[in-house]
Symmetry: C2
């Protein structure tokens, strides 16, 4: 990775978020100038990193950040992600509007390379695996609509200012740093305490990706020149039920899992899996973890934390 | 039309523009409260119209306009349209960014129905006639990219604020009010003066629509509740050469037309024609003019102007 970033001044937004922190880990030590933007000041900042505080839902703050840092490379990870509410949170519109201001300011201040974190929620996956340039963009959620609109605006800004831009559509990330209310952490918490956990029927098929793998591909995108959208996924569909049973088996706790106790969301697709042909054509990146090994990693890590 | 707008407060932006003026003509007398936004103050404003001056490339002016008028219905026609330069004019980004501010303010102030003027330039027409929900959105020009991005942002804002929104993708409008530098007016000017005119080979097939017909369909959209994109076109493809020859024939001036003297733009599609099935399923509207009768209308109107 290092060679890509020899003369780069990189800015990562959402750097304390789930994917942002893995991207920072990946970049740290591989670039001469690493700037991060976070909402709230950190207690301590690792050496090699310059931290900036900004509320990037406010256009003027987004513009100020860019004019102060003047990054050559911008990795835009910041967005509303509160489990349960982010899909329809009104602040998605703030992220969209201020996002356009951010991307525009990046162009106005001479930015060269933009990578934004998109989502599988932008696709209509009714016709099978989602392919970046063939599957229809028809998001069902405000989250997916706002992400899709920011990418559309980014294409225009990239054309206007002459920078190159890519968009990583992340499927279902999991792993270290995952929010406590999301599926895997909430299962671990319940089963560790020998408490029952209520879940859907679990028949939904999803493309799970280990968060450090997702970050690795996002950083690879940042170092590349290819424009366009790229799936950040593995290409393998796994039923949510299989993931749940994998974890339950490790706890010998199948009896604690109440399948079907929670209804699926009405707008949930039965299958949402990436077609990875475009990524495979363009990058040498391959996911380091299958969902089985990734979950083993998460469980081991939880055990170690419990011991220490 | 009148019944649709009984309790409406309508705001038309770009009201002095090519399509905007035909929309205003169509609305005038059919709604109790008609507000228009123009860049520069008019010398005289017709009775029944309230005029507002605003530069809608500036977000704060767009927001102020909406908070002052508080329209229930917004027909957004304003955009950069200078012949020759609008496709790649940097100000497309201003129209996009301030457009998001406008649409968002419309939602925040209780707006109910939005219709925006989109463009056939949003489509990739390689696979034949363009269908609103199946043809890929892959604009080649900054103009098309910016229009597509504003529609994507509008979808998100409509979801967020609960208004209904439609987007009229206009194909090739012509007719009264057309800018002097566009094909038909520039031909009329040259041939009236018996001067030669240089044109491309003319093999491009386009979907010409008489501007008052386009306005009629936009106003019908404004009065409807259907959400989504709709083509503003006729569904009939006509070679540009045929239009040129039609006009030349009326002047007995084939010898003045230099076909092929101008190169096609590199990003020009050989065919850009609308699939009108969705419009025909939803609306009783049909175009009143074929391109032959529309051009006759334009020529007669030019003669009358010359006589008077």
């Amino acid at each position: 990775v290092s060679l890509f970033f020899d003369n780069a001044k990189i800015l990562v937004t959402g750097a304390s978020g789930f994917l942002g922190q893995h991207c920072v880990n990946r970049l740290l030590g591989n670039c001469p100038s690493l700037h991060i933007a976070v909402r709230n000041k950190s207690d301590s900042v690792r050496s090699g990193i310059v931290e900036h505080c900004a509320d990037l839902r406010v256009p003027a703050e987004a513009e100020r950040l860019i004019s102060q840092v003047r990054p050559t490379h911008l990795l835009h990870c910041a967005w509303a992600t509160t489990p349960g509410s982010y899909r329809h949170a009104p602040e998605n519109i703030d992220w969209l509007y201020a996002g356009v201001a951010l991307v525009r300011a990046f162009g106005e201040h001479g930015g060269k390379r933009f990578v934004g974190v998109g989502s599988s929620a932008e696709y209509d996956p009714s016709d099978g695996p989602c392919s970046e340039d063939a599957t229809l963009i028809r998001p069902a959620s405000l989250y997916g609509q706002s992400k899709a609109a920011l990418w559309a605006a980014t294409i225009a800004c990239a054309h206007r200012y002459g920078f190159s831009a890519a968009w990583g559509r992340v499927f279902l990330p999991y792993g270290p740093g995952d929010a406590p209310l999301r599926l895997i952490p909430s299962m671990l918490a319940a089963l560790t305490a020998s408490k029952p956990i209520e879940v859907t029927d679990g028949g939904q098929v999803r493309d799970f990706i280990f968060a450090p793998d997702a970050a690795e591909l996002l950083v690879e995108l940042l170092g590349a020149e290819a424009s366009g959208a790229y799936n950040i996924a593995t290409g393998r569909g796994v039923a949510v039920r299989d993931v749940i049973e994998l974890i339950a088996a490790r706890f010998n706790a199948h009896h604690l899992v109440r399948f079907g106790a929670v209804a699926r969301r009405p707008d949930e697709y039965s299958s949402l899996v990436a077609d990875m042909k475009k990524v495979e054509r363009t990058f040498s990146w391959r996911p380091s973890m299958s969902v089985e090994s990734g979950i083993d990693w998460v469980l081991k890590s939880a055990e170690n934390h419990a011991i220490s």
